[in-house]
């Protein structure tokens, strides 16, 4: 077993450290798992591949689950994905059942995480195996599908598509790289920019800017108020509020269903955790025998929400590892971290890096258990994290963002300025109502889309090739069409509902 020799003490320590830091980040309102990964990136530069992955996956799992703490205790979702946790968690905390609510959520998170890890383990190699035969044409269509799916799940499809296209446009700035078969000439810029932007904007500074700096700008605009003026964090044990596994009796279907919903939503590119938990929550509401208590402090709501949002982790890694397409914004940062370690994710990743693949699975599963034990037994202390004042935290975050951006290409100051440029851009985008997720996915996939598209046309000489290449291409077109139709019917339904509400 060669693999066992790779799993040394440092590996487990780093996973645990990652999970702990992730939980802390997730627990602080406004800080997300994406930010945790982005801020801790510089630490991985010095680590080897396996150790770096251990830390990053720990951060990812910890960051997603940490969001439940403020959701339950303060009614503020620590990460967007824990919105539905507030519905039932906060009423429970008000009744003095905070600890019980958190422990239910922790168990649900563990189950969600493990189920999705199992799906990842079984499904990603299959998908990779299948997609290995894809030519440039299918690869281009997959990217097109990914962007359509993201856009169709945005609040407004048109705005979603527009945001995605802006992302692609931004990614095209720079040269048409010779290593990709281009002619090495630059475009979309003025001559004076060439020394800085010859290779375009670097991915990680862009991501760190959008997720780190713009979050701080958005908070600064609101005056960086403390959310906890007179509110004391109540975790206390009320009478009969002790936790026991019996609470999960009769909730197994809910637990498993929500975990699978989370995994599935995670697989869709660019769809954040909030969609997963909202979908699982509404499904439980529709399908449960008794959903009358939901929203008033019912454990079943917590189970649905938390198992789904943690199941996102494994799900989001499936398209990342098998197709090279990130499933959510956190995996978008992970893709950058992989590139940094010299790994090209895509269909060839799993067959060519079998060891790394097993190491990742080990880290993912171990991170879930660490998350469980930390949160289950140390929840009282972790709950205090929500009290860390932002005026201490924010400057440190900016500082770590700088380190992350500067060191990525071994000391290029322009990468640090990229932080500011995209920090401001990210702020403006969110203010005017454009969507960040499609933009980021467009930015990540844009330059690949160009190569696949242009090379396909250069060799075939006709646009019809995109339709006639293979049966897979036809299936992909059908899927693209389906997601567009889905989006249009959804928006029509919403509009009709809205109109009815106005009339009624």
């Amino acid at each position: 077993m060669e693999i066992l020799s790779l799993l040394d003490v440092t590996f487990f320590l780093l996973t645990a450290l990652g999970a702990l830091v992730g939980i802390v980040f997730g627990a602080i309102p406004g800080m997300t798992a994406t930010m945790a990964v982005a801020v801790c990136l510089p630490l991985t530069y010095a680590l080897g591949l396996n150790h770096g992955l251990a830390l990053l996956l720990g951060l990812y799992v910890g960051g997603i689950s940490g969001g439940m703490v403020p959701a339950v205790l303060l009614n503020i979702p620590g990460t967007p994905s824990s919105i539905t946790t507030t519905f039932d968690g906060y009423p429970m905390a008000r009744r003095g059942e905070g600890e019980r609510a958190l422990k239910i959520s922790v168990v649900a998170s563990l189950v969600g995480g493990l189920i999705s890890a199992a799906v990842l383990f079984l499904f990603a190699p299959l998908l990779a195996d299948f997609s290995i035969k894809f030519s440039y044409i299918e690869k281009f269509l997959i990217i097109l599908l990914a962007l359509t799916v993201i856009a169709s799940l945005s609040n407004n499809m048109l705005v979603g598509i527009f945001s995605g296209v802006i992302g692609i446009w931004l990614s095209l700035i720079g040269d048409y790289s010779i290593s990709d078969g281009g002619n090495g000439k630059t475009r979309l810029m003025f001559d004076f920019m060439e020394p800085y932007l010859f290779e375009g904007f670097s991915l990680l500074p862009v991501l760190i800017g959008i997720f780190g700096i713009s979050t701080i700008l958005l908070e600064a605009e609101k005056g960086v108020k403390s959310d906890l003026t007179d509110e004391r964090v109540k975790i206390g044990k009320g009478a009969g509020a002790t936790f026991s596994l019996a609470l999960f009796k009769g909730r197994l279907t809910n637990l498993v269903r929500s975990s699978f919903i989370g995994t599935f939503v995670g697989m869709l590119p660019g769809v954040g955790g909030s969609a997963a938990s909202v979908l699982a929550y509404t499904q439980e509401k529709n399908l449960a025998r008794d959903s009358s208590q939901m929203g008033k402090g019912a454990p079943q709501g917590l189970i649905a929400s938390e198992s789904a949002n943690n199941a996102l982790t494994g799900g989001a890694l499936i398209p990342l590892l098998s197709l090279g397409i990130p499933g959510d914004s956190t995996t978008a940062v992970l893709i950058g971290a992989f590139t940094l370690q010299g790994i090209q994710v895509g269909p060839l990743f799993i067959p060519e890096n079998a060891e790394t693949w097993y190491v990742m699975m080990a880290a993912l599963i171990f991170a879930n258990f660490v998350m469980f034990f930390l949160m289950f037994y140390a929840i009282k202390y972790i709950a205090k994290v929500v009290m860390v004042p932002k005026h201490i935290l924010f400057p440190i975050i900016v500082m770590m963002c700088v380190v992350g951006a500067y060191a990525i290409n071994y000391g290029i100051m322009f990468d640090v300025w990229t932080l500011l440029i995209f920090g401001v851009l990210g702020y403006l985008i969110q203010k005017v109502g454009l969507e960040v997720a499609p933009l980021i996915i467009g930015f990540i996939l844009g330059s690949q889309a160009e190569v696949y598209f242009v090379k396909s046309l250069e060799s075939a000489g006709t646009l019809t090739i995109f339709f006639t290449k293979s049966p897979i291409a036809v299936v992909l077109w059908l899927l693209i069409l389906a997601s567009v139709v889905f989006s249009i019917t959804m928006s029509l339904k919403n509009r009709a509902k809205h109109r009815q509400e106005l009339l009624g």
Binding site: L43, M399, V402, G411, L420, G446, A449, T464
Partner: protein, 147 residues
């Protein structure tokens, strides 16, 4: 008729200008989408603003101007001075260390709402400890390049 259609769909790309093919296409798509977004979203929104039902983002909202623009100015100065100081001590990371300390201090002060002596002590301590720790761990221990 058939040949007419395939003519329409056939494309030939000159390698010398192939770097412009996809960007031009995307720029056009972006422009068309922009017009559509303006027509379907922005125009109704502006009409609602005119009727007083909605407010414009950024300009029409209340914002903490001091903290927002203060943050922008601080970050820009921070980035700029880091290069300047970093060039004085190349390959040491001192640029990062020496500029981060005042930056962390000033940004903490900017965000601090109640200037109690206890809070000020914590802010000052943090301003010295956090950058030094980051510098020690990253630049010295892990040998990461810092300005």
């Amino acid at each position: 008729m058939e040949s007419g259609l395939s003519d329409l769909l056939s494309v030939s790309i000159d390698f010398g200008t192939s770097h412009l093919f996809f960007p031009t296409l995307i720029t056009w798509i972006m422009a068309v989408l922009f017009v559509l977004v303006v027509a379907t979203q922005v125009v109704p929104f502006l009409a609602a603003v005119k009727r007083g039902e909605r407010t414009l983002p950024i300009v029409g909202e209340s914002m903490d101007g001091l903290r927002f623009f203060g943050t922008l100015a601080l970050i820009a100065t921070y980035f700029y001075l880091m290069t300047v100081v970093g060039d004085m001590f190349p390959y040491t990371g001192y640029g990062f260390l020496f500029v981060s300390i005042p930056f962390v201090f000033l940004m903490s002060l900017l965000y601090l709402h109640e200037w109690t002596s206890k809070a000020l002590v914590i802010v000052t301590l943090n301003a010295f400890v956090a950058p030094s720790l980051a510098w020690l761990i990253l630049a010295k221990l892990f040998q990461i390049t810092l300005p």
